[in-house]
């Protein structure tokens, strides 16, 4: 039987920790995920929720951010959905290389690259009525060995 956990949070910064906690608790019931994967998933969820909250703030909507978390044969999947104004995920600015002094001009914009680096699958669907980020963390031999 597939278990799905759904959560709606107010689009406010203080609720990002709750989103991390719920996804992490759900992920910890999946014995085929390693502790390192749980840590990575928490960061990815935090980044996606932060972006969602900022997107809601940009248009002053009181709508909630919706999270859905479920397991399938391949791994754990999480969807984070907002009702913000949307963005084009293919046109994110590149940061200068770390050794370039101009790198320090960029304090933001690391969230999506971090998500992409930390999870096994990322899909971003965005339109003017909102954005859905779907991430997946696959079961690994490490996780299975630890179970």
């Amino acid at each position: 039987m597939r278990t799905t956990v759904e959560l709606e949070i107010p689009a406010r910064p203080e609720f990002v920790a709750l989103a991390r906690l719920v996804v992490s608790a759900m992920a910890s019931t999946d014995a085929s995920l390693s502790d390192d994967q749980l840590d990575d998933l928490k960061i990815a969820v935090s980044e996606a929720c932060t972006n969602a909250i900022e997107a809601h703030g940009a248009i002053s909507t009181s709508e909630r951010v919706r999270l859905k978390c479920w397991s399938d044969d391949r791994g754990l999947r999480v969807s984070i959905e907002d009702r913000g104004p949307g963005f084009d995920p293919t046109t994110l600015p590149d940061h200068p290389p770390p050794t370039d002094p101009d790198r320090l001009k960029f304090e933001r914009g690391l969230g999506i690259p971090l998500i992409r680096a930390l999870v096994d699958e990322v899909e971003i669907s965005s339109s003017t009525s909102g954005t859905e980020v779907r991430i997946a963390m696959y079961h690994t031999a490490d996780g299975l060995a630890a179970s």
């Binding site: 910064p13 203080e14 990002v16 920790a17 960061i43 932060t50």
Partner: protein, 112 residues
């Protein structure tokens, strides 16, 4: 969720020890404390991340902003971090090449 921020002095450095989770909710408090230190004339700062349980890109942004501010005063911001799960976000984003990252406060404050 609370963020612990303690300041001490070591060998001419202000050492800001951070405890707890750094995310979009707690990052403003962290940013304010760093800015206060710089405004107080502390231009050599060590941020000790050993007590940090979680840090995402908002925390990285605070540190990048702090380093930029300090460099404009000919100062520096050094980090203390040995936790693999925290170091990983610096490695992925290439920021290990931007910050001096040390294994201990003693090692950081011995930097010439």
């Amino acid at each position: 969720m609370d963020l612990g921020l303690d300041v001490s002095e070591r060998n001419g450095y202000a050492v800001l020890s951070v405890r707890g989770e750094v995310d979009v909710y707690t990052a403003p408090k962290f940013r304010e404390r760093l800015i206060e230190l710089v405004s107080d004339g502390k231009h050599r700062i060590v941020v000790d991340l050993e007590g940090v349980e979680f840090l995402d890109s908002t925390g990285l942004g605070v540190l990048v902003g702090g380093l930029k501010r300090l460099r404009s005063h000919d100062g520096d911001l050094l980090l203390v971090c040995t936790q693999p799960r925290i170091l990983k976000v610096f490695e992925i984003t290439g920021l290990t090449k931007v910050f001096g990252i040390h294994d201990s406060v003693d090692q950081a404050v011995s930097t010439p």
